[in-house]
Symmetry: C2
Subunit: 354 residues, 2 copies
C-alpha cells in the first residue's frame, strides 16, 4: 500500500511531498514543524497515490482529450510530467495539485480527529495533540483546510471545486454521524446499526476516495457524459468501503503494526463491522454496545467475543466483496501498468496489516 | 450596530437567518441545536448586514451592470429582492448567499476560538464548548466550514470562490500569529509588537470584512478594473481595523455589556492596543507582557496600568483614524440611504459598547 511498493510513482510522490511542504511554508517555525511532522511521518499517502495512478490509467482516454490535449496543464509549468517507465507526460499539473489538496484535507481531518478522540498515538508516534497540544492541532487542521480550499480554487474548475467542498462537508458529516451514534443512549439493534455503520463508513472514507478520483478524470478531460467519471467514482467508492472495513478489523488484530493499542475504536464506543457481526452470533455483545463499552472490562470482553466468533472472517469477506467490485469497476479500461497497479491495490487492501 | 437599528434591512436579515438555519438543517438533532444556539444567540450579524448594505449602496453602479443586469441572480429565485423603502430589486440572491457564507465562516471561527481559548462565556451565555463540549464544537465548526465552502462553490464564480478561500486561510493565519506571539518567551518590545498586533488585527478581522465586501461588488457586476472593487475593499479593511481595536478596548471597559469578564484577552496573554499604549507610558507593563500576565495578580495590575495611563483614549483615537478612513473610502459613491447607513456604521463603531 505504501508508495515504496510502486516505484513507477516515486518521482511524483517525491515531488508531491516537496510541493506540499512548500505550499504549507509559513513564517511560523513551530507550525512548519507541526505540518512536517504529520505530512512526513503520519500519512501512508494512499489517497494521492490513487489519484496519480488513476491519472496514469485514464489520461488520454477522456472524450475531451482528443480535442484538448492537456486541459488543466497548458498554462502551468509541466516539469511534473516526468518520463518514467515509458509513461511520458501523463500526469497533469492540476492532477498533482488535486493530490495535494486531498492529502491536506485528509491530514487536517486526522489532526482534528486526534483532538476529538483524545488519541495519544498516531501510527506509533505521539499524535499532534499529544506532541503539540490541542490549540496547535485545531489551528493546524484549520490552516490545512484553508490552504486546501485556496489550492483547489486555483485549479480553476468550478465542478472540481464543488466536489472538493463536498469532500470536506461529507467527511465532517460522517464524523458527526459517528458522534451521534455515540450519544445515543440505547441501540436500535439490527439493520439500523448496520445502516448507520455503512453510512458512516461511506461518509468518513469512501466518499473522499470517490470524489477525489472523479475529480482526477474531470481534470483529465472527462466531460459530463464520459463513462470515465462513473468508472472512477465507482472504483473509489468501493475501494474506500473495503479499505475502511479492513481498518476496522485491524483495530482488533493490528496492535504494534497499527501503531495504536488494540481496541482503540471500541474504547471510543464505536460499533464497527466486527462488533456487529459478533452481535449476530453472541447476544452478550448487546449490553456492551448499549453502554458503549464504558464499564470496566467491557472493552476486553468485546474483543474476546469478536475473537471467539466468526466476526473477523465475516468482516474480511464483506471487505472482499467491496474490493472485488472496485477491481471490476476498472474492467472496461484498456490495459496499462497503472490499471494493473490499481487493481492489485484493490485486492491488496484485503491483506494489508497496517 | 445591531440589525435592529437598521429597519431597512430587517426583511433581508430575517430571510438570511431563516435561510441559514435551513441550509444547516441536518438530520442530527443535537447538532441543529448547536447551530441554532450560535446563529440565533451569539452573533451580532454585523458581517452579513455590511454585505447587504454594500449591495444596496453599489448595485447598479458597476461597469458590468448596464450590459448584464443581474449577474448572479438570473437563474435563481428572486424572492429575496424585497421592495423596501423604495429600494426595489437591489440585493441579488448570490449576495444574500455570500452573506450566509461569510456568517457561517465567522460563526465557525467563534466555535473553534472558544475551544482553543477555553472561553466559558460568549456574549453573556455559556460558550459552545461549555454547553455542548469540545467534540461537538470542533465538529460543529468544521461542519459550518464545509457547508460554507459548498455554498460558495454554488455561487459559480471562481474569483469569489478564491476570495472566500482567502478569508478562511487568512483568518486562521491571524489566529496562528496570535498563538505564535503567545509562545514567544520574551518580547521584542517596540515597533515589532505593534507590527505583530496590527498584522494580527488585519488577518483576524479586517481581511474578512475587506474580502467579503469585495466579493459583494464582484457579485454585483463590478469588473476587474471597476473602482468599486477598491472602494469596497478599502472600506472593509479600514472598518475591520477600527472594529477590532474597539473590541480590544471593550476587553477593559465592557464587562457585563460584553457578556464576558473584563480582561479576558489579557488572561490569554494578548498584548492588544491598550496594553501597547500603556507600555509607552509605564515601563512596569514590560515584565507583565514578557511573562504573558501569568503570575498571580498580573492581569489585575495590567488592567490598572491601562486605566491609569492614557492608553484607552489613545486606542480610541487610533480606532477613529481607521473609522474615518472607512468613512472617506465611500466618498465617491453617489448618495443613497445605504451609503449613509454604512458611513454612520463606520463612525458608530467608535462609540459601540458591546
Amino acid at each position: 500500500m505504501d508508495s515504496s511498493s510502486l516505484p513507477i510513482l516515486q518521482p511524483y510522490v517525491d515531488r508531491l511531498q516537496a510541493q506540499m511542504l512548500d505550499d504549507l511554508c509559513t513564517t511560523m517555525p513551530h507550525l512548519t514543524e507541526l505540518y512536517q511532522y504529520y505530512v512526513r511521518l503520519h500519512s501512508k499517502r494512499l489517497r494521492p497515490v490513487l489519484i496519480l495512478l488513476m491519472a496514469h490509467a485514464t489520461n488520454g482516454l477522456g472524450s475531451a482529450w482528443s480535442t484538448k490535449e492537456h486541459p488543466q496543464g497548458t498554462d502551468e509549468d509541466d516539469t511534473c510530467c516526468i518520463d518514467h517507465c515509458g509513461l511520458a507526460n501523463v500526469i497533469l499539473p492540476g492532477q498533482l495539485k488535486l493530490a495535494e489538496v486531498i492529502e491536506m484535507i485528509h491530514v487536517a481531518s486526522l489532526m482534528h480527529d486526534d483532538v476529538i478522540d483524545e488519541s495519544p498515538l498516531r501510527r506509533g508516534a505521539p499524535s499532534a495533540p499529544a506532541r503539540f497540544g490541542n490549540r496547535e492541532s485545531i489551528l493546524g487542521g484549520d490552516f490545512l483546510l484553508g490552504r486546501a480550499v485556496m489550492l483547489s480554487a486555483s485549479l480553476g474548475d468550478l465542478e472540481v471545486m464543488s466536489e472538493v467542498a463536498g469532500v470536506l462537508s461529507t467527511l465532517v458529516e460522517g464524523e458527526l454521524l459517528q458522534a451521534q451514534k455515540g450519544v445515543k443512549s440505547t441501540g436500535d439493534v439490527g439493520t439500523s446499526d448496520w445502516d448507520a455503520y455503512l453510512d458512516k463508513t461511506y461518509m468518513k472514507t469512501a466518499s473522499l476516495f470517490a470524489r477525489a478520483l472523479r475529480c482526477t478524470v474531470i481534470l483529465g478531460g472527462a466531460t459530463k457524459s464520459d463513462p470515465l467519471r462513473e468508472i472512477a467514482t465507482e472504483f473509489g467508492s468501493q475501494l474506500g468501503m473495503a479499505f475502511q472495513i479492513i481498518d476496522d478489523i485491524l483495530d482488533f488484530t493490528g496492535g504494534d503494526a497499527m501503531g495504536k493499542p488494540v481496541g482503540a475504536d471500541v474504547e471510543l464506543g464505536l460499533a464497527t463491522a466486527p462488533i456487529l457481526f459478533a452481535l449476530e452470533e453472541d447476544d452478550k455483545m448487546q449490553p456492551l454496545i448499549d453502554r458503549r463499552f464504558r464499564d470496566p472490562g467491557d472493552v476486553q470482553q468485546a474483543i474476546q467475543i469478536v475473537k471467539d466468533t466468526n466476526a473477523l472472517a465475516r468482516s474480511r469477506t464483506l471487505a472482499s466483496v467491496y474490493a472485488q467490485k472496485a477491481y471490476d469497476a476498472l474492467g472496461s479500461l484498456p490495459a496499462s501498468p497503472a490499471k494493473t497497479v490499481l487493481q492489485c491495490l484493490a485486492m491488496g487492501v484485503i491483506t494489508r496489516d497496517h
